[in-house]
């Protein structure tokens, strides 16, 4: 098997390992605000698919420019977007319920 096919297979195994890791982590008794840490394997999985399956390193340079831009702009959307709810002063109501 050539190196490339082996790399693809290794990537797949890595993805399954990360999947198992996040699957397992989801059963840990984490505090509600800490549970988004389960998303760390997600970032690694996305990186693996992007580099090995989608081969972001191949092709013209603008391919990498577009990929970086997508991530940067996503960060701006999510980062600036959560600034408001994170810093808003809450006037507490009960968890909402249907009338």
């Amino acid at each position: 098997m050539t190196a490339h096919f082996r790399n693809l297979l290794v990537t797949w195994v890595l993805l399954l390992v990360l999947l198992a890791a996040e699957f397992g982590a989801s059963f840990l008794p984490l505090a509600r605000s800490a549970r988004p840490l389960i998303l760390i394997p997600v970032v690694l999985m996305v990186a693996a698919v992007g580099t090995m399956f989608m081969q972001v390193g191949r092709g013209p340079t603008i391919v990498r420019l577009f990929a970086v831009a997508a991530l940067l702009w996503l960060s701006a959307l999510l980062g600036l977007g959560i600034l408001d709810p994170m810093t808003r002063i809450e006037y507490h109501v009960q968890d909402a319920s249907r009338k």
Binding site: A69, A70, L80, L83, D84, T87, R88, I89, D95, A96
Partner: protein
Amino acid sequence: MSATTIETSEYATSYLTDGFTLRSWLLTTDHKRIALLYLGSITFFFFIGGAAAALIRYNLIVPEGMIASAETYNRIFTMHGVVMVWFFLIPAVPVTLGNFVVPLMLGARDLAFPKLNLISWYLFIIAGMVVVYSLFVGGVDTGWTFYTPLSSEYSNGHVVATVVAIFIAGFSSIATGLNFIVTIHRLRAPGMTWYKMPVFLWSLYATSVILVLATPVLAMTLILLGFERIFRVGVFDPALGGDPLLFQHLFWFYSHPAVYVMILPGFGVVSEIIPAFSRKRIFGYNFIVWCSISIAVISFLVWGHHMFVAGTSIYSAMVFSILSYLVAVPSAIKVFNWLGTMHKGYIRFDAPMLYALGFIGLFTIGGLTGLFVAALGADVHLTQTYFVVAHFHYVMVGGMVSAFFAGLHYWWPKITGRMYPEMWGRLGALIIFIGFNLTFFPQFILGYLGMPRRYHSYPPEFEVLNVLSSAGATILAVAYLLPLAYLTWSLLYGERAPANPWGATGLEWQTQSPPLTENFDETPIVTDPPYNYPPPEVVPHRV
């Protein structure tokens, strides 16, 4: 190449003669023909939005409202906003002038994805048909901003139909933006490095960045709004645990950069016209091109300034206010670049130049007044008043529409092979400037005095200013109908245009007017920097 004698030239073959059947137009992939298809479409929508504007100003002649009930008035200004924003301003320059000129300016034979270009026009037409349908069945009363819970729950208008139309139009925009970005990266003529590209291309690149990255967020927002409206699920309803500000954040994440989509191409057009009619290299090329890119980037970071009184956290509001001041800087730099270009230039006051000068004046006023509303404290007083209405009309109408007409007149000889009648062109530019100021300057005062926007009636003490504004609107209407008349006239009776009637630099002027379907006989090779006009000392000018 001299502009003093206009040769009569009969170009028997051009992209216009390359097929006379309906099929050759409706199934064309020629970027030039698609530009004309779009030109017809957006002109149609401009007059629909303009008709709505006429109804608005007519209604506001008397304090109690001349014609409409509050509900009807809400539908009229919504129609005006929706049609003007999505079916005129956002497409206008990119899809008409951009589609036509970009490959020519790059020295390319077409865009990167010509079939995608045609698909984008069909998406636009389908969206247009849906929006016309929604208008015919009564329209919607939420304002073009569709704030919840009015749009998601209480409105009796046709929210879903209108939102579907905008959704489809959004994909047309994304397709156009994608095409431009890839084309500019990949299809430049040999020798044309980034820094040899005319500023218009940089501006359209920046515009396209916004189109491709902001519009998808609008698409998802409209899906969520539709879901909310149909199933009453509560994503934006606080009684059900949702957050109405989520809608506003998502909406403005798109809509603020969208306003830069509307103005950046105008900057680009003006950046072409000022050097050509000052016969001088553009001042500070590196600054002006990087300012375009910075505007595109920073524009994504300021959306919260539309929400200062909506109930966001004060800390978020402060961050957005500071960032909004930052985004004003590159725009201001451009104004100095244009003025620096004109300084010691050999200036001709042809119609495109008059429109461009009008743009500079009106855009500067509009831009400066943006700083007022970007300040948290001042905005609390000015928001939702006519001050804001005047501000954005100064930049969008005074600015963008003037720039659109400037570009239309500038490239008209290239597109049609005909010269428009110069006197009428200059007259039109003048009438627009006068009519526009009369319409919108009183609105700054009205807003400062506290007249709210989107109200069909107003307190009697505001009557005089409103009447002045409406009078200005009738003058504006004439100013818009005038080019429609004489440009159409020129198609049949205008003088034949030479390849380069203005003596301008740029690859588009090196080919015949109108161009052949494949643009260039041979791929041009670029060696000169852009705006390669001779230095001012060489060109004679009046002391």
